[in-house]
């Protein structure tokens, strides 16, 4: 009897303690929820909604991994440390749409990932688009029902998907589009103009660069190929292009600008006559072709003698027919010294050519500039010079353009007010080299 009694007592005690603990935990949990729900909207089921405002700073560590950190407010005037952000092996951002960030997929295989910032300010995977081809890395979104990407396993197909469901809804067969030597295209970027989709080619799938800068056009209303247009180079060397983040390529008149980076293998240094500068290629409103009369080569305008590396990168159209981009401006003194020592470009040894290329690619010879798309003028902004292929992407927030500046001594976002023409430092970043700034409230 005694044993039975003790067992019951023990059972009762444990049960009571368990109920008490459960109650405490439940209360605590409710408290937490209510605390959050004070500030954070819930959906119809009462679940906390993801953040629709706020800012995300993405950085890259010295080991090549990325960190991603969310801020409620843009950290104006301060220094923020992002080293304690969420780590990713890679975080290549393609676009931000309806507060979701679309990146190249890092976990599980090729494809794309859709991330959100949850109610706790933590980055959270919303879903994936599975692709087959390793190296698949091009995606853009037009609206909540339509996005496109290229799976390199089917390079002649542009897949159309629904960003809400991440389901593929259609395909555009681009087989008839022109690619030199009948190679397969590796698209660099996708840009929308209404139902028109423009896709510029970076190279062949095998990595061969073409002598022409080629843009394919398709219709996303009929999922059909429309045509192609191209800018010819010198017929010898490959024209290169750089990945540009987001959309923002259309001016007030509906002209779309697709930028190439020119030839930057040093050809211009050896033979200036063969130099091909990076160009803003304009496809006028209502047209599907590059405007042959529009030849805006910002690097040659900023410095007509810069035939060594006359490239333009990181381009977005802002407003009032203005744009912001990095324009390579200077020939570094080290390069001049090497050329002088050799007795001219034509006398450069192969070793000197390689050394020269290394310097050109890494020197802080690029200037962030405001470009006037109509007047074809180039105005350097009053911020430190950066490398011509410097990391970081542009974003417009409240009428100001946030510009990444990564130099040997700085790692900061500056902001440029187009109305006032004033540039000031917005905030410094420590913990990782900056690559992206995202405003969750802006589709980009």
């Amino acid at each position: 009897m005694t044993t039975q009694f003790n067992f019951k007592s023990l059972f009762t005690s444990v049960l009571a303690l368990s109920l008490f603990a459960f109650t405490v935990v439940s209360c605590g949990s409710d408290d937490n929820n209510s605390s959050s729900s004070d500030d954070t909207p819930t959906d119809d089921d009462g679940a906390l909604e993801n953040k629709t405002t706020g800012f995300v700073v993405v950085g890259r560590t010295s080991s090549g991994s990325n960190v991603v950190k969310y801020f409620e407010e843009i950290p104006e005037g301060s220094t923020v440390d992002i080293s304690d952000g969420t780590d990713f092996s890679g975080f290549t951002l393609h676009t931000t749409f309806e507060s979701s960030m679309y990146t190249t997929r890092q976990v599980g295989g090729p494809g794309f990932s859709k991330y959100v910032i949850n109610a706790d300010g933590e980055i959270e995977l919303e879903g994936n688009i599975s692709a087959i081809g390793e190296g698949t890395a091009r995606l853009a979104i037009r609206d909540s029902q339509l996005g496109v990407f290229q799976d390199v396993s089917t390079p002649n197909i542009i897949s159309v998907f629904n960003p809400e469901t991440l389901q593929i809804t259609g395909q555009i067969d681009m087989t008839d589009a022109f690619v030199p030597d009948d190679e397969q295209p590796f698209y660099q970027s996708f840009y929308f103009r209404g139902d028109d989709l423009f896709a510029n080619i970076s190279s062949s799938l095998n990595g061969d660069f073409f002598n022409s800068f080629i843009v394919h056009q398709a219709s996303v209303s009929s999922n059909t190929f429309i045509g192609d247009t191209q800018r010819d180079g010198n017929g010898i060397n490959g024209i290169r292009s750089i990945r540009h983040y987001g959309q923002n390529r259309i001016d007030d008149q509906g002209n779309i600008y697709i930028v190439d980076a020119g030839i930057f293998d040093g050809t211009g240094a050896i033979n200036p006559a063969l130099a091909v500068a990076g160009r803003l290629n304009r496809i006028p409103a209502g047209s599907n072709e590059f405007d042959p009369d529009y030849q805006f080569d910002p690097a040659l305008i900023l410095n007509p003698t810069n035939v060594v590396l006359p490239t333009t990168t990181k381009f977005i159209v802002t407003s009032n027919n203005k744009a912001i981009a990095i324009v390579n401006n200077e020939v570094p003194q080290e390069v001049i010294d090497i050329v002088n020592e050799a007795g001219g470009f034509l006398n450069l040894t192969p070793e000197q050519q390689r050394e020269l290329q290394d310097i050109l690619f890494s020197a802080a010879s690029g200037r962030w500039c405001e470009l006037d798309l109509e007047a074809q003028t180039v105005t350097p902004l009053n911020i430190p010079s950066v490398g011509p292929f410097s990391f970081g992407n542009l974003v417009q927030i409240d009428g100001e353009v946030y510009i990444p500046v990564v130099t040997e001594t700085e790692n900061a976002f500056y902001k440029y007010n187009e109305a006032t023409g004033v540039t000031v430092k917005a905030f410094d970043v420590t913990g990782a080299r900056i690559s992206d700034l995202v405003d969750l409230s802006i589709d980009n």
Binding site: T61, S89, V152, S153, N206, G207, P350
Partner: protein, 799 residues
């Protein structure tokens, strides 16, 4: 009368003196391997001997009579024999291992392994003798060493990454009999060699002896092949999960007392068709690719490899003390199932196979009254390497070729599964390596050693489906343009002992000379494919000290300024996306070791030993691939890393038949400088280098039942527990808050097994069950290792 008595005494004494005899013999273990340095003691305290390194002994001037000889060696059960000596007598002993110390592979008998372990340079020597009956590969042996983490990309024969004291890949060199493994053309790999084919595995931690070392930043691992002197013939066969079969046949036959022939051979086959649990598998539904989490059995993971060696040895001739000439044939055939990370699609057709023919010559001679020791070791090898990666098919993990619902087969436009473009490359590598070591005993306690290692490798081939470059109107295959690599590494060392041999000191210098010739991709024009030669010369140096505080207690320290010469591909690029960097400097590391060893035998069967080591590995000019945001890459010297760690190893024998072993390693590899001059990269300073295990340990228990089923048979049971604590593949501040998607979780593996040895017949049976708890474990990020699996092995020593 006195004179007579005196004369008689002389005669009798002389007579007695002339009636002495010699006793010679050999001491071997049950596998007929010699047991070196065993003590042979009789019941007459004045009659005794010590076996030499070949297990042979001779005791002279033994008067006639009856004696009981007792033979003892650490790690073996003592044995005694009673003999009557009335003539010159041969007395052989076969000792049984002290099976309590089956796992005592780090601090073991006074064997060569033991001697290596007690050198001033920090070496962990893993003898195979006491685990030779178990179904193990060399990589399993290494997993029991402190400071070593072995990571494989799959099952038997898959790619192996060795992490030694925080350094991995090219920083850790692997040698076969002192010659870099790559000279043998890739047919030999650390996880294809069964323990049956090895004498021991020496792990050089940070400091390489001059008679082994080539360039190595973090040390090296020397796989020492089986070198038995006595006649023997031994075979083993093991069969296990995943249709795995391994066969070995090794033996030696003495044709005379000076000439012998031997063979060393093994064959491995495995389908490696283990189940990969909880992996994503792709299928096609309409326009969409759908992923489902499944358990999939590997379907294209077969491994076949073999090694056949025939050797002739002559010894004790006027011109040579010992000469070994060996010819080997190595073949390997691998299906490739996955890349370095797991994808929802599988690799279904790519294969890599290679064959190597090689010849080795090993010459030893002592001169100048044995004060000068000469050794020449030379290898010549030719390898045919075939890579077939040329399909447009795409496979899922069910082994199906992916197709749309209308039957249209998906095409992989790159035309390759593991390479960027189709390849059917047929490579032909010709390698030769030569090492000459001369050691001179200047004084009894002072010697000087010089070593010179020369290696040349020529790489060429052809690829019928590879890319072509148009030169003078002809489509040229770049594979047909040969690349060559030459290395010459000279070393000199002074070694001395002081303080009644308690203090051993070594001072050494190394010179690394390197020359590589390959295509200069920058200079290719429409009418020529130029090649370029890059050469470098670097110096390294170091020292080692060891002090015997007591017979059972020593402390040692060593230092080396270590060098790793850039590889040809790092200098010349890959001719596609990686550009050359002809100015690439070697990686350098200051390696420091400090350690102590203590062992104590408390009473009859109770003993313990402990080793404690600390290490520092401060590296600079580390070579890393810098990928630009325009898609190209180049290898550069950039980062610096400060590494340090502690290793503890211990064994306890609390009573007869039971042995407990364990070791523990914790290490840190902190970023000391970023990969560029950007000030922001200072933020990384002090963080751990990603993708390197920080803490790992293992423990083992052995128990032996004697006289099981038969009065002379033993059964040994063992349990082994291996743990690698979690770590991230990313650079992170804190593992607790790091993104779990990129963390390799803590790995815990339990292996159990037993060996039943028929003491008199030379037969033994062994069963090992690996991962007995069927834990989900990963060697690399998201690539599952096999669950529970078993291997059964039969060993038979014919004589």
């Amino acid at each position: 009368m006195r004179t007579f008595l005196f004369i008689m005494l002389i005669v009798i004494t002389s007579s007695l003196k002339s009636q002495t005899y010699s006793i010679n013999g050999a001491i071997q273990d049950h596998n007929n391997s010699p047991i070196p340095f065993a003590n042979v003691v009789s019941n007459n305290v004045n009659i005794y001997g010590v076996a030499d390194e070949n297990g042979k002994f001779i005791i002279e001037n033994v008067p006639s009579g009856t004696y009981t000889f007792n033979v003892s060696a650490i790690g073996f059960i003592a044995s005694s024999k009673k003999i009557t000596v009335s003539k010159n007598t041969t007395l052989n002993f076969s000792l049984e291992e002290n099976i309590e110390s089956l796992d005592d592979i780090i601090v073991t008998a006074k064997s060569e392994s033991k001697r290596q372990n007690e050198k001033a340079i920090s070496i962990t020597s893993l003898g195979t003798q006491q685990v030779i009956d178990r179904p193990l590969g060399a990589e399993e042996l290494l997993k029991k060493s402190t400071g070593v983490v072995i990571r494989q990309s799959g099952g038997l024969g898959s790619n192996v990454n060795i992490n030694l004291n925080g350094l991995s890949r090219r920083a850790v060199r692997v040698f076969y009999d002192g010659i870099p493994l790559e000279v043998f053309g890739g047919g030999l790999q650390i996880n294809t060699i069964p323990v049956d084919a090895l004498e021991r595995v020496d792990v050089y931690k940070g400091v390489m002896p001059i008679d082994i070392g080539t360039d190595a930043l973090g040390g090296g691992i020397n796989l020492v092949p089986l070198k038995k002197n006595a006649e023997y013939l031994r075979t083993s066969y093991s069969s296990g999960s995943f249709n795995t079969h391994r066969l070995t046949l090794n033996g030696r036959k003495n044709l005379s007392d000076k000439v012998s022939i031997s063979t060393l051979s093994y064959f491995n086959y495995s389908d490696n068709d283990y189940v990969l649990r909880d992996i994503a598998n792709l299928s096609i539904e309409g326009l969409n690719n759908v992923e489902n989490i499944i358990d999939a059995r590997a379907f294209h993971n077969r491994h076949i490899s073999g090694y056949l060696e025939g050797a002739v040895r002559v010894k004790d001739l006027s011109w040579v003390d010992q000469l070994n000439i060996a010819g080997t044939y190595t073949a390997r055939d691998d299906q490739v199932q996955n890349g370095i990370v797991l994808s929802p699609t599988a690799i279904g057709e790519a294969t890599i196979d290679r064959t190597t023919l090689s010849a080795r010559l090993d010459y030893k001679k002592k001169l100048l009254k044995d004060r000068l020791s000469l050794r020449y070791y030379g290898v010549i090898a030719r390898t045919d390497l075939n890579v077939n990666d040329s399909t447009t098919n795409v496979y899922n993990w069910l082994g199906n070729i992916l197709a749309r619902e209308d039957g249209t087969i998906l095409q992989n436009p790159s035309g390759a599964e593991i390479a960027g473009s189709p390849t059917k490359r047929e490579g032909k590598n010709n390698s030769t390596a030569h090492r000459l070591v001369a050691k001179y005993d200047i004084l009894d306690n002072l010697n000087f050693t010089v070593s010179d290692f020369y290696r040349r490798t020529k790489i060429e081939g052809e690829d019928p489906v590879g890319e072509r470059i148009n030169i003078n109107g002809q489509e040229i295959d770049l594979n047909t343009v040969p690349s060559t690599l030459k290395q010459n590494i000279f070393g000199a060392q002074l070694e001395a002992t002081f303080l009644k041999q308690k203090l051993n000191a070594q001072l050494f210098y190394k010179n690394y000379d390197y020359q590589a010739n390959s295509i200069d991709i920058f200079l290719i024009t429409g009418d020529r494919i130029p090649t370029r030669t890059v050469s470098q010369n670097n110096n390294g140096y170091g020292f080692a000290l060891k002090y015997d505080i007591a017979d059972n207690f020593f402390v040692r320290t060593s230092f080396e300024r270590a060098i790793r010469i850039p590889t040809t591909s790092e200098v010349f690029g890959d001719f596609v996306t990686i550009s050359p960097n002809f100015d690439l400097k070697p990686e350098q590391s200051d390696n420091i070791n400090l350690g102590l060893r203590y062992n104590k035998k408390l009473s009859g069967d109770v003993s313990f030993s402990i080793g404690l080591d600390g290490f520092i590995r401060n590296r600079e000019d580390l070579i890393r691939l810098e990928v630009s945001n325009i898609g190209t890459g180049v290898f550069r010297n950039e980062a610096a890393v400060d590494g340090k760690g502690i290793e503890i190893s211990a064994q306890v024998t609390p009573f007869k038949h039971l042995q407990l072993t364990g070791n523990y390693t914790t290490q840190s590899n902190e970023i000391a400088s970023g990969n560029s001059t950007l000030v922001v990269e200072e933020s990384s300073i002090g963080l751990e280098v990603p993708n390197i295990p920080l803490t790992f340990y293992n423990a083992g228990v052995n128990y032996t039942f004697e006289n099981v089923l038969n009065s002379k048979n033993n059964l040994n049971l063992f349990w082994n527990y291996q743990v690698v604590k979690r770590y991230s593949i990313n650079e992170v501040q804190d593992l607790d808050t790091a993104n779990p998607d990129f963390i390799i979780p803590t790995q815990e593996v339990h292996n159990v097994g037993g060996t039943y040895r028929f003491r008199e017949s030379g037969l033994s049976l062994s069963l090992t069950i690996n991962n007995v708890l069927n834990a989900k474990v990963f060697d690399n990020w998201r690539i599952p290792r096999p669950g529970i699996n078993y291997t059964f092995k039969v060993n038979y020593s014919i004589f």
